[in-house]
């Protein structure tokens, strides 16, 4: 499964578990508007570390956090390489 697909699957799963309704998951979707709250993102990052083996944010020196879904996926694709 591609990194992108894994992320999209996990976002849907977390949303389902947390009873959240998601906006359509497009590249330019602003994460803050996607439907997940901060706890949802926290869980998402922890789950992605389990499935992809990386947490690119905690490992990073800077405190950068992506704005759009496309950027979010890129951070993982970059880290997974």
């Amino acid at each position: 499964m591609s990194v992108k697909l894994t992320i999209l699957n996990q976002i849907e799963r977390v949303a389902r578990e947390h009873g959240k309704i998601l906006a359509p998951l497009k590249e330019d979707l602003v994460l803050a508007d996607c439907g997940l709250d901060s706890l949802g993102f926290a869980v998402l990052v922890a789950r992605l570390e389990d499935t992809l083996g990386i947490d690119p944010f905690t490992a990073a020196e800077d405190a950068y956090f992506p704005v759009t879904l496309g950027e979010f996926v890129k951070v993982y694709e970059h880290g997974a390489r």
Binding site: E17, H18, S38, L39, F41, A42, V43, V45, A46, R47, E49, D50, D55, F57, T58, F65
Partner: protein, 464 residues
């Protein structure tokens, strides 16, 4: 606070004419032979009035030496099995130790080169025994040191045995067993219960496989068995548990959740099952025998058996008790607050007419400002029928600072089948979501083959 004087342990030998034993993995000793015998080569008089470090490697020699030394020594420092020899010199100096009792397996250390050194053997040799001088021996224990440097805690026999005397009737037909090491407070309580009740005791052995230990307990016909909830969870996962049929089952040292109490009830339908609250500093505070987790709210406030409990402003349980230790040795730190209450560091919460233990004061996971005790989540996970035991820990998280994740040991290996594992994971998460607020649901669950249990029998929480 009124303290009752207690006769020395040796006096307990007068209560029975029968032969009673200490058994460990490789040897046994008839401790009632100490009426006319010694395990210290008859050199007890040399230790009279001295401050003695009990540096025995085996619990069998520890058990025998304690019985002989009480009433003769001024002080006994009981070294736990995992003591760091680097700290030993400072510890012994602080306690003004001038004599050592060791056995054939004691690891030698310069700190143990003391003016008087006496060897203890794992059996009792006939000897003339003089009546004890009956000095009121001080017993020094080390705290389990789950946080920070271990401290020496000073008890007297009256305080150590008050809980035993308050409850138990001498029951010579009893055979006590414990998963604890008797060199720590929890295990020492079981040792004292056995000895003062005129009963035999099956000792644990470090590194012994659980099945072998259960076999030994069965072989000696154990009737009274105690351990931490973690000890019990591990034992219940072992098929050899079916070989024993204790009539009294006791838990202490960790939170006894409803799941473990129910599983013990189902496994030992005939047994009385009790969980107790005790700590090295505060002593034994109370027993709960109604089969339910937590304790009645009526325990807080009034003085029961001399023990008074209150909830401090931070939610922690504080205890004032004649069973508490008297002071720390070698540290300026006070053991109790100005009113004589010991801070247990355990947070309790009232729900209905009962108090429940939430977890340790220092163990809270802060999830984006929302707080959770790992123990609270473990109690829910442990309710799942396929879960043997679990540990929840804090994982660093870039969004909320931390998040709760769980390691779970299943009762039986689900054939390594990935699909089945995923199904059980989803099922456990569903149980958590139905029972807990959203932030307390673990972000992820990992199946692990086993969870570490520390020297004091508690779930290891420090590292993964």
């Amino acid at each position: 606070m009124v303290r009752v004087e207690a006769p020395s342990l040796r006096h307990a030998l007068a209560n029975t004419s029968a032969s009673r034993f200490f058994w460990d993995r490789t040897a046994s000793a008839c401790y009632t032979d100490l009426r006319h015998g010694t395990s210290l080569g008859g050199r007890l008089a040399e230790l009279s009035g001295r401050s003695v470090v009990l540096a025995t490697e085996s619990q069998l020699t520890t058990a025998l030496a304690l019985m002989e030394l009480d009433g003769w020594a001024r002080r006994i420092v009981i070294l736990p099995p995992d003591v760091d020899t680097a700290d030993l010199g400072a510890v012994l100096a602080a306690a003004e130790i001038d004599a050592a009792v060791f056995d054939g397996k004691t690891q030698q250390s310069p700190a143990l080169n003391l003016p008087v050194r006496v060897a203890c053997v794992p059996n009792v040799v006939p000897a003339n025994v003089s009546p004890p001088v009956n000095c009121h021996t001080e017993w020094l224990l080390m705290t389990s040191g789950t946080t920070g440097v271990p401290k020496l805690v000073l008890h007297d026999v009256a305080g150590l045995t008050a809980a035993v005397r308050a409850r138990s009737v001498a029951d010579g037909a009893a055979v006590w067993g414990t998963f604890y090491d008797i060199r720590r407070y929890g295990g020492l309580q079981m040792y004292l219960r056995a000895v003062l009740g005129g009963a035999s005791l099956v000792l644990s052995s470090a590194g012994e496989p659980v099945a072998d230990h259960l076999d030994r307990l069965a072989q000696h016909g154990v009737t009274h068995l105690s351990g931490t909830p973690s000890h019990w969870r591990r034992a219940l996962m072992n098929p050899a548990i079916r070989k024993i049929a204790p009539r009294y089952v006791r838990l202490s040292g960790e939170i006894a959740d409803q799941a473990i109490l129910d599983r013990l009830r189902a496994t030992f339908p005939q047994a009385a099952i009790g969980h107790a609250y005790a700590s090295t500093e505060a002593g034994v505070a109370f027993d709960v025998n109604d089969g339910l987790a937590g304790f009645p709210a009526s325990y807080i406030g009034p003085i029961r058996d001399g023990v008074e409990m209150k909830v401090f402003s931070d939610g922690s349980l504080r205890i004032r008790s004649p069973r508490a230790a008297r002071r720390y040795i070698g540290t300026g730190q006070a053991l109790a607050d100005a009113d004589g209450f010991v801070d247990t560091g355990d947070i309790i919460e009232q729900r209905g007419d009962r108090y429940y233990f939430a977890g340790r004061k220092g163990g809270i996971i802060n999830i984006g400002g929302l707080k959770v005790h790992p123990e609270e989540i473990e109690a829910v996970i442990n309710q799942h029928p396929q879960v043997g035991m679990s540990r929840v820990w804090s994982k660093q998280n870039p969004i909320t600072g931390a998040i709760a994740v769980a390691d779970v040991v299943l009762k039986s290996d689900p054939d390594g089948a990935c699909a089945q594992q995923t199904m059980i994971k989803d099922d456990i998460l569903k149980l958590c979501r139905e029972t807990l607020p959203r932030h307390k649901v673990p972000a992820s669950i990992s199946f692990v083959p086993a969870l570490g249990i520390g020297a004091a029998g508690k779930l290891a929480r420090r590292e993964r």
